[in-house]
């Protein structure tokens, strides 16, 4: 047992940090407080691709470096510390690439994987999973894909589609089997959909932060070729679940608000000496130490889950534990940061007198979504209890 990174892992971390700091200094991006993957820049993704950092954990036969989840996490940790704009390739690299390697056809692999890994133009993905009546109960999707010759005809509605308005492709879960005797998780299939197909309408959903990342996506007789079906027909739900560990073990769940964390430490350190006495400051010390501990625990959970994946395990419960813990940590962080800063913390970005470099008020509002996306905390706890601890359904 050892908790140390290897020499080459430390070297990777150093390289990524230098790269990100240089890009930040050059003004390629600035540290803002948006949902992480909502920040994207094709130019930035291209530069990452040149370094071989997109697909760092993909097998070499698909153009990757063949490194592990741990290396990918090291790379992303350094990116997220500065909120680097990795959104352009993020979903394609994390979700679509590995799914195609596992379930895709030769044509799909040849067509999409090289584009994703080199951050080509026109290869940004969004996820078309949730529907108005299928959220936590994802297998209950009612968007239909009905086979007609060599095509499928798609009808229905998706919701909470992050970056749907800018993505080039969507990763769609739709119902393909209408035999009512089948359990519903054996009735859906996965497809890749070109978001510019005729019949697709995208409507913005402005979130409570005041920002546009979510969309509603409507399908009205959208015709796609069967070559865009991924994996087996009717096995879509199972395929998605097999990929969930990658999403849930991600260190982005811990670091969406890292600038708040580092800025808060700076803010406390720069308080007047006269403020650093008395019971109020003892409270701040105690709470900040608690957050430091929780951050450490969260980081260990992320890395140990990544390590388990690298050992060939399928750490479903462990990944759920990691995500449940980390997202709740981030909510506590933002809440505490605002308490320390006081009334000024509600001042939004762009307004004069904003107390931190980052918009902590926006982070606090964004925090509401952290424990909902990618499996709500409650769904995650069900998984931990039933699959991890073996409690009965």
């Amino acid at each position: 047992m050892n908790f140390k990174f290897t020499e080459s892992q430390n070297e990777l971390r150093r390289q990524v940090r230098e790269f990100v700091e240089a890009e930040l200094a050059a003004g390629t991006f600035k540290v803002v407080s948006k949902a992480l993957v909502a920040q994207f820049s094709i130019e930035f993704s291209r530069k990452m691709a040149e370094q071989g950092w997109i697909g760092i954990n993909w097998p070499k036969e698909y153009g990757g470096q063949g490194l592990g989840q741990v290396e990918k996490m090291i790379m992303l940790e350094e990116m997220f510390k500065y909120q680097a704009p990795v959104g352009y390739h993020f979903m394609g690299e994390r979700q679509i690439g590995p799914a195609l390697m596992k379930f895709g056809t030769d044509w799909q692999r040849d067509h999409f994987l090289p584009k994703i890994i080199s951050a080509e133009k026109g290869i940004m993905f969004c996820l078309l999973f949730s529907e108005p009546d299928a959220g936590s109960d994802l297998a209950a999707v009612s968007t239909t894909a009905i086979k007609e010759g060599d095509d499928y005809i798609i009808n229905g509605q998706k919701v909470w589609t992050s970056e749907g308005h800018v993505a080039d492709y969507g990763w769609l879960l739709a119902k393909t089997n209408f035999d009512e005797s089948l359990p519903k998780h054996r009735t859906c299939s996965e497809f890749i959909v070109d978001m510019k197909m005729p019949g697709i309408t995208i409507r913005p959903l402005i979130n409570m932060v005041g920002e546009h990342t979510f969309n509603e996506v409507f399908f009205d007789n959208v015709r796609i070729s069967k070559k865009y079906l991924v994996g087996q027909e009717d096995a879509g739900f199972k395929q998605i679940m097999a990929q969930m560990n990658y999403e849930r073990s991600g260190i982005e769940r811990l670091l969406q608000n890292y600038p708040v964390y580092s800025e808060l430490k700076r803010f406390i350190n720069e308080m007047d000496e006269s403020e650093k006495t008395g019971e109020y400051f003892f409270w701040i010390r105690d709470k900040m130490a608690q957050l430091e501990i929780e951050f450490t625990v969260g980081r260990l959970l992320c890395y140990s889950t990544a390590w388990s994946i690298d050992q060939g395990e399928t750490p479903t419960s462990q990944a759920a534990i990691s995500k449940a813990f980390c997202t709740q940590f981030e909510q506590r962080l933002n809440d505490f940061a605002m308490a320390v800063i006081g009334p000024n913390s509600i001042i939004r970005e762009g307004a004069k007198w904003m107390p931190l470099v980052v918009d902590v008020a926006a982070c606090y509002l964004w925090g509401v979504s952290y424990t909902l996306q990618g499996g709500s905390v409650e769904i995650l706890k069900n998984i931990i209890a039933q699959r991890g601890l073996g409690l009965p359904r």
Partner: protein, 376 residues
């Protein structure tokens, strides 16, 4: 990175577990508590024969020079069964103090019989207020012309003082205002020592030890005069991490027992473990356990590697204390009435978690250390 124990350590864990589950079922824990000595001589002898009392001691004194991590794993397994024994106070506290600070003569005198299980040592750490006052002890040692010291003062909650052959303690030397406290050892049956049992909520025997003009020869000073606090500090760091190991064993057991109970107990025609309220309680425990194991093992591996880790140790004790206690509280809620009875075993862990939280500093104390370490 490697988050798993190696094969040897896993084998060691299995042998610890097999022995302890066989030798120390919960009925035995209760028997031991009723026993005057407060430990099982039979188990103690067997543990000595297995070499467990010498795990981290030098070979020349009869030890096996294993790693600190091996000992951590042993304490995890002990925490699962809550074996009451002088292992912690004798081997960890006293043994390490002697190994790390004693002269060859002292080590030769104390370590081999301790490792053999023939002599039991203890350390009297807590003053009348229940504080570890190693930096400024309330025990006073007065030097007399013959060169010996006369000791006066009180220590509370001293584990196994009744059976200890030697009791170690820090004392301030009267009239010496510059030197720090010194570390002494006194024969457990020395004249002037009053040792009275204290009734507490846990299974381990604890005593009040009152020193009234106890004479201790100068040769009984361990380490350097005036440096008792610096001798004590690194040993306390290790003790804290091993206490975390013991707590993690208890925590694992609490989760296992609670999940088992939730599967078996039926209400409304279903196992209560099928109810989401119960499932989420259990999931919260599992989340906390996973994190606590990682942060405790992190500290243990750093100590094992000889890396300085004040922050990691403080983080581990703060976190483990809080989440283990929380789990025992939730576990009582899930077990409901039966868990509140004396005969049911889960309550043993409820008490163990509370005591462990308070020993060697609770979470508020250790968070204050963490705050220092991050520059606040």
């Amino acid at each position: 990175m490697d988050f798993a124990l190696n094969n040897e350590q896993e084998m060691l864990r299995r042998s610890f577990a097999e022995f302890l589950t066989k030798e120390c079922p919960f009925d035995q824990v209760r028997e031991i508590k009723k026993d005057e000595a407060g430990y099982s001589k039979d188990i103690w002898k067997k543990m000595a024969r297995l070499g467990w009392l010498g795990l981290i001691f030098e070979e020349q004194y009869g030890g096996s020079e294993g790693s600190f991590l091996d000992l951590f794993v042993l304490f995890e397994e002990i925490g699962k069964v809550l074996l009451p024994s002088p292992l912690f106070t004798s081997i960890v506290l006293a043994g390490l103090l002697i190994q790390e600070s004693g002269t060859d003569e002292i080590k030769n005198k104390y370590l081999p019989p301790m490792i053999d299980g023939k002599k039991i040592l203890t350390v009297a750490l807590l003053n009348e207020k229940g504080m570890i006052d190693g930096d400024n002890p309330s025990i006073i040692a007065k030097k007399v012309p013959e060169g010996d010291f006369i000791i006066n003062g009180t220590r509370l909650l001293v584990p196994y003082a009744n059976i200890a052959d030697e009791i170690l303690f820090c004392a301030k030397i009267e009239g010496d205002n510059e030197g720090g406290p010194s570390l002494f050892s006194v024969n457990g049956r020395a004249q002037g020592l009053d040792i009275q049992p204290m009734d507490t909520i846990t299974e381990e025997k604890k005593y009040a030890v009152v020193f009234t003009n106890v004479s201790v020869p100068a040769a009984n000073i361990i380490g350097k005069i005036g440096r008792g606090d610096t001798h004590l500090h690194p040993v306390l760091q290790k003790a804290i991490v091993l206490k975390c190991g013991e707590m993690m064993g208890g925590f694992r057991q609490v989760v296992d027992m609670t999940v088992e109970y939730a599967k078996e107990r039926h209400q409304f025609g279903r196992p209560i473990g099928s109810f989401q309220a119960i499932q989420h309680y259990c999931a919260d425990m599992a989340i906390d356990l996973e994190g606590a194991l990682l942060i405790a093992y992190q500290a243990a591996t750093l100590i094992s590697d000889g890396v300085s880790c004040a922050k990691e140790v403080a983080m581990a004790k703060a976190w483990c204390s809080d989440v283990y206690k929380k789990a025992t509280q939730v576990s009582q809620q899930i077990h409901a009435g039966i868990g509140f009875t004396e005969e049911y075993n889960i309550q043993l862990f409820f008490k163990h978690a509370k005591e462990s939280e308070l020993m060697f500093g609770h979470s508020i104390f250790h968070r204050s250390k963490v705050a220092n370490e991050i520059g606040l």
